[in-house]
Amino acid sequence: MNALSISMDAAWVLVGTIDDIPRQGSRRVHNGAMRIAVFRTADDRIFALEDKCPHKNGPLSAGIVHDGCVTCPLHNWVISLETGEAQGADEGRTSTFPVRIEGRNVYLDLMPTHAAR
């Protein structure tokens, strides 16, 4: 686990390395009371979403990752990792966070790109 202290105005926060996250898997970052799920796809792209399904708050970090999406463990909604949007007929969006990769280091910007709805 990486314990970090940052000041509020810092934009990019180092949360760990790519290797901390299993391929087609996810790890959680505790940001105060908020949980952020950081995903790594089969082709090593990294995404960060609030760990909260737009349906009934299911922990997306516990879902199955496939093709740029994650399937929520509670009721199988499929959420796009890129946009946070629910796919298919379901409607809703979870907050996403900008990710920057330097070498193998993963940085998050803790200001979400958009709020959940």
């Binding site: 686990m1 990486n2 314990a3 970090l4 202290s5 940052i6 000041s7 509020m8 105005d9 926060v13 949360v15 760990g16 901390d20 996250i21 299993p22 391929r23 087609q24 898997g25 790890r27 959680r28 970052v29 505790h30 940001n31 105060g32 950081v38 089969a42 082709d43 009934k56 708050n57 299911g58 922990p59 516990a62 879902g63 199955i64 990752v65 496939h66 093709d67 399937t71 463990p73 509670l74 199988n76 499929v78 803790l110």
Partner: protein
């Protein structure tokens, strides 16, 4: 009406007489009392499809044409495994090698062909196999288990299909062909060359101009020596050097024979009461080796037997296709060079396409297509109708799509075919017949169209065309997905995927997706857990479980709750517990402030509301008291409920608690297609509710009544009885075998009652209760897989496995900026 039914005897039960009987039963039902002798010990099956059975794409059951029931329904006597050794034309009887003699009024000889064995030293060594019937395929499959080297002698249709099948089964294959190019009787050298390249791309070695001098070996095959002294090692040699009409029986009976049994255009031999059909028959100087003309013979023979003496056999060219997945070739008619002939050729090297049309007097007489065979039907139609092609000469070779204006898409091209265009070459079915039958009978599935028209019912290469015709005729009502695909990532259904995983020895999820042409790069949440299960089940010792393809519960070995916390259910074997266990649970509940404790419907205790981070510590404490995971989350063995039985109960007949505990201890940890719940009750009062479980046992005085296929969840269903056994050991053996059968055949998420409905209760009873060998084999495979499955997932995680799953990646402490 004839007053007395006549006796019809048939020698040989291959594809030709099978078809003949279908026609005869339709035209003159009840006229004959039919008796068949078949040297092969089985019913009539689609011999053409032996290659897909060899490669694993189909099973024997799928290629049976007439099952046992069919013979019974039609009152036909079938002597399986009886070879006819004599025909007495004076007494009008035939006699089999088992001594059965049957009189006939009419006799049909349909003995097919015998494979030609090249006369070289060593040809009789064990390990030299021909390729003609199911026994040959089984022998090859047995040899393929060794994954050693095989040699196929003969680079024709049969040889190449055998080679492709053996290669798919993991053998290292060399094809020896005596001519300079492959399939020289059907392909010109250019197409033969492309074919050789495609075969070699499959890892098969091809040696042309190879003259076999001897088969080497001491007591069994060890290799083949060629004329030039080359020695190629191999443990299996498949002779596919051609076939000869099987006319010896007829010859011995004094019938006129030449290459085959000589028949007239009405299929009559030189004896008016004896007919011959199939590959053994020679009509007008020709013998045949493809089913289309044989089916025509069958039709004519039936018609004569039904009393219509006018119908006559006419020769027609049959296109040849090779049934090797991924190789498209088509050959028809006469394509030899000649002064009076012209040819049009198209080559597209990058696409691997070669097309050649041979013309005589502006009419097509032959066609060779390689790589793109879509226009075969169209060329065949032009050839059959002797259409003068002068007007479209410049664009002819580009195919039907280019005739008249803009190119057509494939559907439009099929729509543009005339009604009398032949769609199914094997069965001679034309377009009009198919569309008319679909409309008249309201057919909507491919199987129905096959049943009613026979189109696409033999070699299957025209299936695409038939489907397009269905789409054309039915419009929106056509649903091509007769098989429910596993998910959007593939067109294959669960059963096909399971079979192909075994057949092609696929041992990882990426390998399955690559080989079975998954449409997505890495699958989805539906197919990945299913594939993971199939691989775990099929290769217990070799497959490395894919963690990321498991649902969260099976990944963290606890049940996720609606608020993202988890519940933990330890095993309480057979529902028994102790003060020590209960004390340990109480301590854990206090220590981790677990909000809820509940007795489950499965006779054990559930602790709910545990934070994910706390799981390993909770398990560590439970482990110290001897608890292992109850797998309350698993598509695997869950609970075995019991009642108190003879230990305490005044009605108990057997030790139901003991048996339940024994089953649970034996089977815990096993993964199954869906969850598996069991129960053992000590008497028919059934306090453990065994008769609504996946598997249940009701103890009775005389032993153990095994039940299965019950359900009490989304569906409620009482169990079926599997059978009664005498001892506890036998009960365990039968239950384990049943479970393994289900593990190997069930579709992912299919509970045992649904599987049983699909497979048939009788079939399951037959395999588990009656077939001792099968039962024992299932049992042993289960025991083997348990070696790798019975590892407590909780203790593994307490010792550090999958740590990342339980710990956050980072914890950010916010500090207000000063």
């Amino acid at each position: 009406m004839t007053t007395k039914t006549e006796k019809l005897v048939i020698i040989g039960n291959g594809m030709a007489p099978g078809r003949m009987l279908e026609h005869l039963l339709e035209e003159a039902p009840g006229r004959y009392q039919v008796t068949i002798f078949n040297a092969e010990p089985r019913v009539n099956y689609d011999r053409i499809m032996l290659s897909p059975v060899l490669s694993g794409e189909k099973s024997y059951e799928q290629i049976v044409i007439h099952g046992d029931g069919w013979y019974e329904t039609h009152g036909i006597t079938l002597y399986k495994g009886h070879k006819v050794v004599a025909i007495d034309r004076i007494a009008k009887t035939v006699t089999s090698d088992h001594g059965v003699t049957e009189p006939y009024d009419k006799l049909v000889i349909a003995t097919g062909s015998v494979p030609f064995i090249i006369p070289v030293p060593g040809k009789e060594l064990p390990g030299v196999i021909t390729y003609r019937d199911l026994d040959d395929v089984n022998a090859m499959l047995l040899a393929a288990q060794s994954r050693q080297k095989a040699i196929v002698i003969g680079g024709g249709l049969l040889g190449l299909e055998a080679a492709a099948g053996l290669a798919q089964r993991g053998m290292e294959v060399t094809v020896l062909h005596v001519m300079p190019t492959l399939m020289e009787r059907q392909l010109d050298p250019a197409a033969g060359y492309l074919l050789q390249k495609a075969v070699e791309e499959r890892g098969i070695k091809v040696i042309c101009k190879a003259n076999t001098k001897a088969i080497l070996g001491n007591g069994k095959v060890e290799g083949v020596e060629l004329d030039d002294g080359t020695v190629i090692p191999a443990s299996l040699v498949v002779m596919a050097a051609g076939i000869r009409p099987n006319a010896s029986l007829a010859r011995d009976a004094g019938l006129a024979t030449n290459r085959g049994i000589v028949v007239d255009a009405g299929m009559r031999t030189s004896d008016g009461d004896i007919l011959a059909v199939g590959e053994c028959a020679e009509v007008d100087g020709m013998v045949y080796g493809l089913v289309a003309p044989l089916y025509e013979m069958a039709r004519i023979a039936a018609s004569h037997l039904a009393g219509n003496s006018k119908s006559a056999f006419v020769h027609a060219d049959t296109p040849t296709k090779l049934k090797v997945t991924g190789i498209d070739l088509y050959s028809l008619g006469d394509f030899a060079d000649g002064d009076d002939r012209e040819e049009i050729v198209l080559r597209d090297a990058t696409a691997g396409v070669y097309k050649r049309v041979v013309l005589k007097d502006n009419r097509i007489i032959g066609t060779v297509l390689y790589g793109d065979t879509a226009d075969g039907t169209w060329f065949n139609d032009l050839k059959k109708k002797r259409t003068d092609i002068s007007a479209m000469r410049d664009t002819l070779i580009f195919g039907q799509a280019y005739q008249g204006g803009s190119p057509l898409d494939p559907a439009a091209a099929v729509a543009a075919l005339p009604d009398d265009a032949e769609i199914c070459g094997c069965n001679g079915v034309c377009k009009g017949k198919i569309t008319a039958t679909i409309t008249a009978r309201g057919l909507s599935s491919l199987d129905e169209v096959r049943a009613h028209t026979k189109a696409s019912n033999s070699c299957g290469t025209c299936t695409g065309l038939v489907e397009q015709l269905m789409a054309l005729t039915l419009g929106d009502r056509y649903n091509p997905k007769a098989v429910q695909p596993m998910c959007g990532c593939t067109d294959l259904g669960h059963d096909d995927v399971r079979r192909l995983i075994k057949a092609k020895a696929l041992k990882s999820i990426p390998a399955v997706m690559q080989e079975l042409e998954w449409k997505t790069s890495c699958g989805c949440a539906k197919c990945r857990p299913a594939l993971n299960y199939y691989l775990v089940c099929d290769w217990p010792d070799e497959y490395a479980d894919d963690y990321q393809s498991r649902f969260i519960n099976e990944r963290v070995h606890a049940n996720i709750q609606k608020d993202g916390t988890y519940s933990v259910v330890p095993r309480m074997w057979g529902g028994m517990t102790s003060s020590k266990e209960l004390r340990a649970i109480a301590d854990v509940v206090d220590k981790f402030a677990i909000p809820a404790v509940k007795v489950t419907g499965g006779q054990r205790i559930d602790m709910l509301g545990i934070r994910k981070e706390d799981l390993p510590a909770v398990w560590a404490d439970l482990g110290k008291a001897g608890f292992v995971s109850g797998q309350a989350y698993a598509k695997g063995l869950r609970t075995v409920k019991t009642c108190v039985g003879t230990d305490w109960c005044r009605f108990g007949t057997q030790d139901s608690t003991g048996l339940g505990i024994r089953i649970e201890r034996f089977m815990w940890g096993s993964w199954t297609p869906a969850k598996l719940k069991m129960a053992v009750s000590g008497c028919p009062r059934n306090c453990a509710e065994a008769t609504c479980k996946d598997v249940g046992v009701i103890c009775v005085d005389s032993g153990y009544e095994i039940h299965f296929a019950g359900a009490a969840g989304l569906d409620i269903k009482g169990t079926e009885v599997l059978g009664l056994v005498k001892s506890e050991d036998e009960a365990l053996l039968h239950i384990v075998a049943l479970t393994q059968m289900y593990r190997e055949q069930g579709r992912y998420l299919e509970r045992i009652y649904k599987w049983a409905k699909r497979i048939g209760l009788d079939e399951i009873r037959r395999q588990i209760m009656e077939d001792t060998d099968k039962r024992q084999a299932y049992y042993e495979r289960f025991v083997f897989s348990q070696k790798f499955a019975q590892v407590d997932p909780w203790s593994e995680r307490v010792s550090g496995k999958d740590k990342h799953e339980f710990n956050p990646m980072a914890v950010i402490h916010k500090e207000a900026a000063e």
